[in-house]
Subunit: 290 residues, 6 copies
Amino acid sequence: MKQALAKMVDGRGRFLVSGQEYEKAKTVIFGAPMDYTVSFRAGTRFGPAAIRDASEGLEEYSIYQDKSLEEIDFFDAGDLILPFGNVTKALEQIGKAAAIVLGDGKIPLVLGGEHLISLPLIQEAHRVYPDLRVVHLDAHTDLREDYLGEQLSHATVMRRVMDFLGEGRLYHLGIRSGPAEDFRLGREKNHLVLERVLEPLRALLPELAGAPVYFTVDIDVVDPAFAPGTGTPEAGGISSREIIEVMGILQQLNIVGFDLVEVAPVYDPSGCTALLAAKIVREALLAITK
Amino acid sequence: MKQALAKMVDGRGRFLVSGQEYEKAKTVIFGAPMDYTVSFRAGTRFGPAAIRDASEGLEEYSIYQDKSLEEIDFFDAGDLILPFGNVTKALEQIGKAAAIVLGDGKIPLVLGGEHLISLPLIQEAHRVYPDLRVVHLDAHTDLREDYLGEQLSHATVMRRVMDFLGEGRLYHLGIRSGPAEDFRLGREKNHLVLERVLEPLRALLPELAGAPVYFTVDIDVVDPAFAPGTGTPEAGGISSREIIEVMGILQQLNIVGFDLVEVAPVYDPSGCTALLAAKIVREALLAITK
Amino acid sequence: MKQALAKMVDGRGRFLVSGQEYEKAKTVIFGAPMDYTVSFRAGTRFGPAAIRDASEGLEEYSIYQDKSLEEIDFFDAGDLILPFGNVTKALEQIGKAAAIVLGDGKIPLVLGGEHLISLPLIQEAHRVYPDLRVVHLDAHTDLREDYLGEQLSHATVMRRVMDFLGEGRLYHLGIRSGPAEDFRLGREKNHLVLERVLEPLRALLPELAGAPVYFTVDIDVVDPAFAPGTGTPEAGGISSREIIEVMGILQQLNIVGFDLVEVAPVYDPSGCTALLAAKIVREALLAITK
Amino acid sequence: MKQALAKMVDGRGRFLVSGQEYEKAKTVIFGAPMDYTVSFRAGTRFGPAAIRDASEGLEEYSIYQDKSLEEIDFFDAGDLILPFGNVTKALEQIGKAAAIVLGDGKIPLVLGGEHLISLPLIQEAHRVYPDLRVVHLDAHTDLREDYLGEQLSHATVMRRVMDFLGEGRLYHLGIRSGPAEDFRLGREKNHLVLERVLEPLRALLPELAGAPVYFTVDIDVVDPAFAPGTGTPEAGGISSREIIEVMGILQQLNIVGFDLVEVAPVYDPSGCTALLAAKIVREALLAITK
Amino acid sequence: MKQALAKMVDGRGRFLVSGQEYEKAKTVIFGAPMDYTVSFRAGTRFGPAAIRDASEGLEEYSIYQDKSLEEIDFFDAGDLILPFGNVTKALEQIGKAAAIVLGDGKIPLVLGGEHLISLPLIQEAHRVYPDLRVVHLDAHTDLREDYLGEQLSHATVMRRVMDFLGEGRLYHLGIRSGPAEDFRLGREKNHLVLERVLEPLRALLPELAGAPVYFTVDIDVVDPAFAPGTGTPEAGGISSREIIEVMGILQQLNIVGFDLVEVAPVYDPSGCTALLAAKIVREALLAITK
Amino acid sequence: MKQALAKMVDGRGRFLVSGQEYEKAKTVIFGAPMDYTVSFRAGTRFGPAAIRDASEGLEEYSIYQDKSLEEIDFFDAGDLILPFGNVTKALEQIGKAAAIVLGDGKIPLVLGGEHLISLPLIQEAHRVYPDLRVVHLDAHTDLREDYLGEQLSHATVMRRVMDFLGEGRLYHLGIRSGPAEDFRLGREKNHLVLERVLEPLRALLPELAGAPVYFTVDIDVVDPAFAPGTGTPEAGGISSREIIEVMGILQQLNIVGFDLVEVAPVYDPSGCTALLAAKIVREALLAITK
């Protein structure tokens, strides 16, 4: 693994058949086990480990894309070692790791952790790809200006992204919870679709064609029946079948960064959320690694 | 809070932004934490507390009705203090509390507890509104004449309602379990719809228009995938999306009483049942408070 | 099994090597799965089933008494079928079953259920043995005159026993929780020992020698570390080693009835409470069956 | 119960109203609590017991088939006593039990245990019905030649069935996970349908009409949202409503053997998997017992 | 409640019979639900709520001190509303609340949250009582200069206290885990006792007599058998009986502030940790409120 | 890592600060995740992984031995890859791995898995050290000739060891469960001590001085209060404090092999068993690595 990155991670990661060489990999997985700003139920810091453990129960081959992980080049760098409780320094570290991967022309695929970790990831992607689009799958708007006075919070992360991304470049899908003003803002400045994901995303394909796209998935976009293990589950979400199908569509996009956040193993007694998350990661790997 | 009611409750309740004044409220929440007659798995007495705790993870604003709890007047009186193990006295207390709220021209929105608590609630509503209709969402018929010799039981509650309500005024929706004779009785004397809820309810709107309606929801009408935390989960139920949509329809009815029963937190390890229940309560509040 | 008893039970019970003949048995196990009057956490109705299931993980042989269940005659009649929510009728049934067993000159060994089930058991034992002594192991006094207005409650059971037993015949051991007046009453009219069990019981042996003794064990006399699965766990109890040693002492007493109550499997995620309870039952069987 | 069988089982079983006479029964339930070859999460040996316990929460009557268990003749023989860790001897015992039941002209309905238990069951059915068809509902192909060098494994069971069944007689439905070569093999030699079950099965009815059919259901064909309690849950499965409807179709087939495998209670904290499994068994009993 | 404090809290607290008047109270409870800097398992933010819920299962009367909560004046102000993820601002708020209570001549009894919350509490107590002693019950030293580069951390809290307290005024009891240098430092500059608590504290009574003492209890000083629900459980701790007895000793000290930290309900499936914590709070209230 | 060993393991292991070089290590950890012959509750195959995960919550430094893992040379090779369900082949693999480590003059420290894994480990140690002594800490005798007809079983493992070890060389400590004949055999041919461990082991020191000793610890020797997460918990065991102290004594013995078996994470909801196991491993590493 590249020296600069190697110093920042614990090196314990291994998602399924992850290859041993960073250099050859086109997609690089790393975990960002941060959960300091969550307001309801914490515990997403154990998300990356649970997803990797669950991956051992998966096949490398996907019927959905008729393709196997053995056919693609990816590398799992393990989890970043982050300072507990220091939000700004942790975000800095996450951004630095993303910058290394992006700088090497690779795609970062990051496992959260809370949603705020997407901020530095998108910032770095934006630095490399100034015309970046962000597709945001979530139950929640995450568009507050501040949350109990804090500007850096899992509930403000997409507002912070708006600060630099430019109007009309942020696409919220599957949203079903937030303050009324968030919905107004999201509709006015960005694209915002209530509840549904698959069809709206298909409809967006022409608009997004060719553009560099960062794809961020909050697991709570999925209904709690399929993914109970998350901080703020919201009834009324999409099914696991739909999220898997959504991943297949990524083949048709130019994905330059991807994250899956808010998996909280402690609220996942049967382990099904981690298993679904591992499947989403497999499908994403297969779809975005070209 | 009114003195007579204040003496009966623990005063600890606070569902989300519940206002501080009973007098101004149009809808009054209270809990009826009774679970003495359940035959399978007990524990619904902790339902009201769990629903209130879960409400803290919710937004006040609903995308489904484009309305916020801040726009309506409701009051949460807390839980009734009930004598443990004394079924008749407990039902008496519940009826008394309902009578106070109804007597003040307000709508009681009651959190169970087991389904038997609906009996005194419906009795009091019937006293005030003699032409009352009852809409009953449940997986089970609850129409037995007696259960192991007992006439007052969670499994007989709707039969007891039939005793005074008058033919053709009870609507069972979503039902999928019960003895064969219950289905015969329900179809003969009442309206009974198997499995489905949303479309049948829509079809009933003309028939129910204007009439005073008591709406009772046993959480097990929802499939265990979405609401595992209940005493007798029955596979094959409706989705959380459907129950939420059903709540929106209540806007078009003249609801004079509402209850949500049978949430059993101890069988809800991920907390998703309580979260769904809190969402149902929010939607009900928004729809019935005019 | 005797016809009168056979009609009352579900016949599913089988504690370890329980023989097949009621007639030859000297000790008869039955379950009393009632939990209607509990004030905090319910669920003891599943206690008898959990104890029997756990017994499959036990050996028949006990190192503590150097004796095996294969050497004694006992019979497991299964659980009583009780009317849900009807306290008085359920107690009646329990008493009736005890009367049958006692009438046949056998010792009833009853698995609860809540502590109130001891009332009819002790009443029937008292009818047969008018000079009965009751030894009561518990964390709680259970001596209230009434509880929230109810005279029949798990919190009043020992007061109800006092009503007919006669002064000085009730021995409370291991007690560490209750209202101040209960302690005054217990000390004045009965024998009451705080926290400790083993040594005080040894000291009582001369006093109890020869007398007919009913022995009632609330599992919460044991510390929650060893027995978390109960309704109202109280820190500061005895160890599992101590309760096992206590059982051995029963060999030296003339036990005419025994119960073990308040095992609540739903609060016992590791199953250790049921396993300890099964061990207590094995030891009691070995000690009291002569 | 027949002497030969009686010696092999623990005799503790009683699924709902199971009659007391083996002789009159047309369908005979027994459990095969073996889970030695599982590769991910073990614990299915407790499946049969959990399914029976859950059956107590069910009604005898089914709305789906408008029929009650009281109308049919079945017998529950309890669980086989199997040697722990000895795969070949355990399979032998299972086959022997099936041979007895089949030899008496009855239908075995077996509760697993891991999927490998289907091998001796299907072998015995094949011996009696040489033109046997096997319908296989599962998330996984189970068609490996060997698994980590082992030929007898839950992951190879259907390959072993292919060894003797003859081409074109094995129907895989609902499959969504396996190595690529399994899918090639399944499609080439057998019938294999991805993800879906209900419609494909309906389409097969003419082809299967009259033929003796063995029906094996791995509970993981159902989505983890509805059935989390299994060893290798796979997101993207069918709903509980669909599996129940599938059972009704069995009325139109000539079912000569049935099993339901891979229920693992320890991963089923809310108990909903066992409850669904009990419902599947009830529906299967009603549909196949003629 | 005093206006300045009332604005800072959620006002939902009510530990058992907590009186309604802040003014008359001698001891004031509040919760500090902060858990941002924990390094292993988070979730202590739900500690205060769980402790209050558990208090409903307790008696007001204590056999250990032969005294009842009804005899003393205390007030429960509820939980502080803290900014999620902002460590310095949260500590500021906690300090401010403590300053109000201390300024009114009352004793703050604070429920954590993580151990770092003790820092502002002790700072404020030190401001009012410059000759303050701190008694620290914990499994861990918490004496690191920094933790992964952070100076404010649950693992550095006692080092930060040393920064201002003055040599020889800090007493560590029950300690059994930490880096070697922490033990050297603790022994050199403070008092440090390995593993044991009760006897060492008794021995310190003459030395502490009359001095103002701040008493901070990390629940993990208790063995995980008695208190599993905490972030970093350490085998080898004291029993629940010992911690209860320790509380009684506080009667003989001049306690000016008290906290109980690190209760994490999500790792407490049986609820016994919260129940023990509630008992510790009851005993502390009885012992320190004079 | 040595090539022969490297091919057999998954290489994922890393117990705390485990060094990177097999060659320099004096003690070599590996996991043997086999649980095929257990008779009650399975799941110990996940034991090694859970122990390593829990080790991250531990300090390297031990107060009990005043020594740190950083001062000793050990290596963690990860888990053996074992064929599921094939008992003889799995035992063969385990023996082969042990032979490599022993052949290199190193001490194997093996994490189970069920107790049967000790058989090949002790066999290999015996091959190298013909005058081997075995010290066996366990709740159960494990001395059956066969178990349900099987000679290789977790319940027969010590009998199989007796087959080759020679009389008087096997020391059973802490035993409290088994058939009567096991106790007779154990006392006649070996040394057998009921319930206690620490004092008896101290008394044995002179007898064992200098001799090569294999030390096998079944976690269930510890009481379920301290270690609930195991297959067959037996009330009445030693405390976690005692087992930790026992480990310190190993310094005075010539330990040539060590294992810790029967940790079953799925029955360990609070994680305390794995944490205690990790602590036992740390103490063992410090005591036996010279």
